[in-house]
């Protein structure tokens, strides 16, 4: 049943994921600086003048995340931090899409850009965390691995002789099926 098996070792995440993480780190720094220094003009362009301070705060967040990605040995937690930031950005822009004072067409463009970044962030974070999408893996058929001596349909209920211990039973009132009166299961003994 079992087979001997050897695989090559590569404990590190793929180089492409690390390169993407570095790119996202620099992107975070650049976007953060733009949000921090150009918050007023960005807010005007989007028609979100009331949110100038929020944009500045988001800029600080982007810079902190960018530093984390580029400075830490394991960038994965910081990329997940970017994903959380993306969620905040999307929530803010969703609100602006319903705001009659905002330039909704421009907000929609920004929303699309953040969505694109989110897809990249999640893909990168998954690759760094070793969660390779299943479509890249070779599927193996285990349809012969039942572990049962007969087809499952014939094995259904083969262990009905087992008495569920009292502390694991559901209350009788919730029982849809009336079983014959059960005997008390003896207490475990060593």
């Amino acid at each position: 049943m079992a087979h001997r098996h050897r695989t090559r070792s590569h404990a590190r995440p793929p180089a492409s994921a690390e390169a993407l993480a570095r790119g996202l780190g620099w992107f975070s720094l650049a976007l953060g600086a733009a949000e921090l220094l150009g918050a007023r003009s960005m807010a005007r362009w989007l028609g979100m003048e009331r949110h100038e301070s929020l944009i500045r705060a988001y800029g600080v967040r982007e810079i902190a995340t960018g530093i984390g990605i580029l400075a830490q040995k394991d960038p994965a937690p910081w990329i997940w931090g970017r994903v959380a930031g993306d969620a905040l950005d999307l929530a803010t822009l969703s609100g602006a899409l319903r705001d009659p004072k905002a330039h909704r067409d421009r907000v929609a463009v920004a929303f699309g850009a953040v969505m694109g970044a989110t897809v990249l962030d999640v893909a990168c974070a998954n690759a760094l965390s070793g969660q390779e999408p299943p479509r890249h893996r070779r599927a193996v058929d285990y349809s012969d691995r039942s572990g049962l001596p007969r087809p499952p349909g014939q094995m259904r209920g083969a262990a009905r002789d087992f008495e569920v211990p009292r502390d694991m039973r559901i209350p009788d009132a919730l029982r849809p099926y009336r079983q014959p009166r059960r005997q008390e299961r003896p207490q475990p003994s060593m």
Partner: protein, 391 residues
């Protein structure tokens, strides 16, 4: 002797360490003939569980031959063949006398740490953090077994290791998960996670007589193994779990739900809560990812039962407890009370009712352990379960 030692996230090494010896009259030393890598070892490998120290020896699914016994051990002798349960039990405390072995009051030598984390201590475990005693594990050539007169399952000769090894953990764990559901012939049992414990839970639910068993996963080979065991498979990346479960139960939802996933649930764009969980985990706003719990609570039929064998370590966020209360759900959880079930399960193996070796997809030497951890974590090459042969 050789042993697999933990050095940090993704860093496990096969190294020479001193052989273990008898430290207490109730000890025994086991020459390990087979051991396995468990899904919950991955929480250590990925460093989501706190309390590990560099150089700790891993492993809690072990069997072998007794090579030395302490002076107080009367029911074991050199040459006996034993499976070692992952929970260390004294057999004498109030909880052990009740059969609640996984919360043995005496076997955790770091009980004060566990009490700080959980309010009270739980049992000592092999190879599973200093919160549970810091005991050396069984992914090694030899294992010291504390309280060995209670902490063992004696097994007969003539049955291969592969059929017996999983009495140490995943078979009784899957069994207890199903038993906790108190399965009725009218029940639909939905099982999240078709890894080794999920596979054992599928077969246990079927043997205990569930009307239909549903397995939820995204890995094709796990799903094909689940189908082989009689389950209806749902690939959650290809269809809506909630819609499909409602369809299979005429809109009523499954009566019984089993979480065989635990703290490291998948992360995908299709489930926004998983992305938020992963981000929160990264910045330490929560420790575990409870997507499966949320989905179970939502989809379970009112007055149903949730059974949770999946390992959780700490704090979870956004659990819809209002649904638990208003739907009147029963939640049963816990590490497995292994010795409570093993007499019965050993008999079922001997009688041929089930052969747990079906789950083994990879067998390797102990020195290949570090690579096998990676293969198992990444589910490469159809890997569902790894057995290591130290000798």
């Amino acid at each position: 002797m050789k042993a697999l030692r933990w050095y940090g996230k993704g860093d496990i090494r096969c190294e020479q360490v001193p052989d273990p010896g008898i430290e207490d009259p109730r000890d025994a030393i086991i020459k390990v003939t087979s051991c396995a890598i468990c899904g919950s070892d991955l929480h250590l490998y990925n460093h989501f569980m706190p309390g590990m120290q560099k150089g700790d020896i891993l492993g809690h699914e072990t069997m072998g031959e007794v090579v030395e016994v302490g002076s107080a051990v009367r029911n074991l002798k050199v040459g006996d063949r034993v499976v070692i349960p992952f929970t260390i039990i004294c057999g004498e405390c109030d909880q052990c006398r009740r059969g609640n072995y996984s919360v043995c009051e005496r076997s955790n030598r770091n009980a004060h740490l566990a009490a700080k984390a959980f309010g009270h201590t739980t049992a000592g475990l092999f190879g599973y953090t200093h919160l549970t005693g810091g005991y050396a594990g069984g992914q090694a050539e030899y294992l010291r077994v504390p309280y060995a007169d209670a902490t063992h399952v004696k097994v007969p000769d003539g049955i291969p290791d592969e059929k017996l090894l999983f009495l140490s953990d995943i078979f009784p764990t899957g069994w207890q998960a199903a038993v906790q559901c108190d399965i009725e012939p009218t029940d639909t049992v939905a099982i999240w996670g078709a890894g080794p414990v999920g596979q054992m839970a599928i077969r246990s639910a079927l043997l205990l007589g569930a009307r239909q068993v549903v397995a939820i996963d995204r890995i094709p080979e796990r799903l094909s193994m689940a189908r082989a065991g009689g389950a209806i498979a749902i690939n959650f990346e290809e269809e809506s779990v909630i819609e499909r479960l409602n369809e299979l139960t005429a809109g009523r939802g499954p009566e019984k739900c089993i979480d065989a996933v635990g703290m490291e649930a998948h992360v995908s764009m299709a489930h926004p809560d998983t992305i938020l969980d992963r981000a929160k985990q990264a910045v330490m706003l929560e420790t575990d990812r409870p997507h499966v719990l949320r989905e179970m609570i939502y989809v379970c039929r009112p007055a149903g039962v949730l059974s949770v064998p999946g390992v959780y370590g700490g704090l979870l966020d956004k659990i819809p407890f209002g649904a638990v209360m208003n739907k009147g759900l029963t939640i049963r959880t816990g590490q497995t009370h292994v010795n409570r079930w093993t007499d019965d399960l050993l008999r079922r193996i001997q009688e041929g009712q089930i052969d747990p070796s079906f789950v083994i997809t990879h067998t390797a030497g102990l020195e290949d352990g570090p690579q096998m951890y990676e293969t198992f974590r990444d589910k490469k090459d159809g890997c569902v379960k790894v057995v290591l042969k130290p000798q």
